[in-house]
Symmetry: C3
Subunit: 212 residues, 3 copies
Amino acid sequence: MTLLILYIIGIVSEAMTGSLSAGKRKMDWFGVILIASITSLGGGTIRDILLNHYPLTWVKHPYFLILTCLAGICATQIPNWITKNNKLFLTLDAIGLITFTIIGFQIALEIGCSPLICIVSGLITGVFGGLMRDILTQNPPIVLYRELYASVSILTSGIYLFLINTKLNHDLVIIISFFSGLIIRLLAIKFNLNLPTFSIKEINGNSKFKDK
Amino acid sequence: MTLLILYIIGIVSEAMTGSLSAGKRKMDWFGVILIASITSLGGGTIRDILLNHYPLTWVKHPYFLILTCLAGICATQIPNWITKNNKLFLTLDAIGLITFTIIGFQIALEIGCSPLICIVSGLITGVFGGLMRDILTQNPPIVLYRELYASVSILTSGIYLFLINTKLNHDLVIIISFFSGLIIRLLAIKFNLNLPTFSIKEINGNSKFKDK
Amino acid sequence: MTLLILYIIGIVSEAMTGSLSAGKRKMDWFGVILIASITSLGGGTIRDILLNHYPLTWVKHPYFLILTCLAGICATQIPNWITKNNKLFLTLDAIGLITFTIIGFQIALEIGCSPLICIVSGLITGVFGGLMRDILTQNPPIVLYRELYASVSILTSGIYLFLINTKLNHDLVIIISFFSGLIIRLLAIKFNLNLPTFSIKEINGNSKFKDK
């Protein structure tokens, strides 16, 4: 199954991004493995908890967990190679995002969720792993600030949703959605496209929410 | 149903507080929508996960999710108006807190939980949305630091618990609990009442927990 | 049951560590109680959610929740005594870690999980409470950075897993695993053993992930 191969590419590259974030924070090996696993499997885990879809993928198939641990440790050995091949990794990460989105959409659809919840399910699968990585490594969650990332997930789901209502073969639907989403994401990276941000000035000089 | 109207007021005002927090952090539109949704629906979601109460409200009724997204986007257009009408929003937020508390209490009661867990359920519904908002926007969780906020939720639950054991009509129980809780909260805001805080000095100059 | 007594020692000492963290952040009493409860009961809660193992311990037995609240409040009265008796508390915390690990392992085993997931279940029960404490009090999660902490949980699970496959009496298996784990942990504290850390330099002076 093509989707399985893409899924494995996705979790491996996500695990490596998690490992690098942990390395920037000088975590020990356990921290690296934990952040790697949460980055790659966390999105699907949150989705399954929210949709009451048990058992969780990695509980049922622990070899996915072993794979993310290995990928995380592996990345600690080749940080310079990864940083030099940043574009390759952005592409692998994009493959992960689109694959996670399609898988999340399909699972919600199988459970019988409404189209909006299917889109949300794809989105959560795609972006929540990175969100938890950023919180655990005490960085601002990048997905909330910039780059057309979450929007690509939503667009991919929209294309998928449109196509499954046509009479196209299901495999073809997946292929078209996958490549459409991937191209949009790669264009967003290439041209550095961002969503407009919403910024308000603090009224009082020292914000009352600020920690001292 | 009065409770539904109050619930809608609650999620709309909570979504707006989430949107403003996201704006202070210069998040993009997706960040704003996500923070708005988590702030208003997050407390109930955590409660339902902890109590194994599925499907989640917003999975079953996606229009609540649409409403919070709209409220979040709407708030980005009128930040100054909201800041000027701070007292109105504190009142709406208080309505949300009390309504969420009563709904959380009722759900736990229906499931057959013990009184203590019903109080905890009301509390989680009332305060965990704001807690997650503050973590995702990297602010100190305000509910843990000051203002009689969580305590008002517990007091409201206590009043509700007392009244359902009397022979009063159930609608009347809700109304009395609601207004009692609301008045306590508004008095706490007006007189700036806080719980005593617990503060210990660091023994060693550089705390071992501190990040460098 | 010996395990119950050890479990109570564990949750009480974990609650106290949570309470002290909250005190360092000058939280109010509600913050103290919440952090204390999450620190001591959070690991088991996350485990039960991931394994779909309901009802949660503290929902079924609310007196555990009362106990953590009392321990948390109690710790606010004796912070200096606790800080002076740091070694005692490290030992109590070690007892908690090992007990939580064995309980988490057993629950996953009873549900029919594979050995790897049983180890992960023990690990989550043992370390995720402290992880959430650190996130909520805005400290770097200590378990990800140093000290042989998570590894001791994994080693304890490994010993337990090995022993249950021998013909030893089950109580004896628990006792041997418990003391082996405890001794390893206390040696790690005494000799300040850490896992190797993984540290990468930022390529670009201003990291793009940094918050300003």
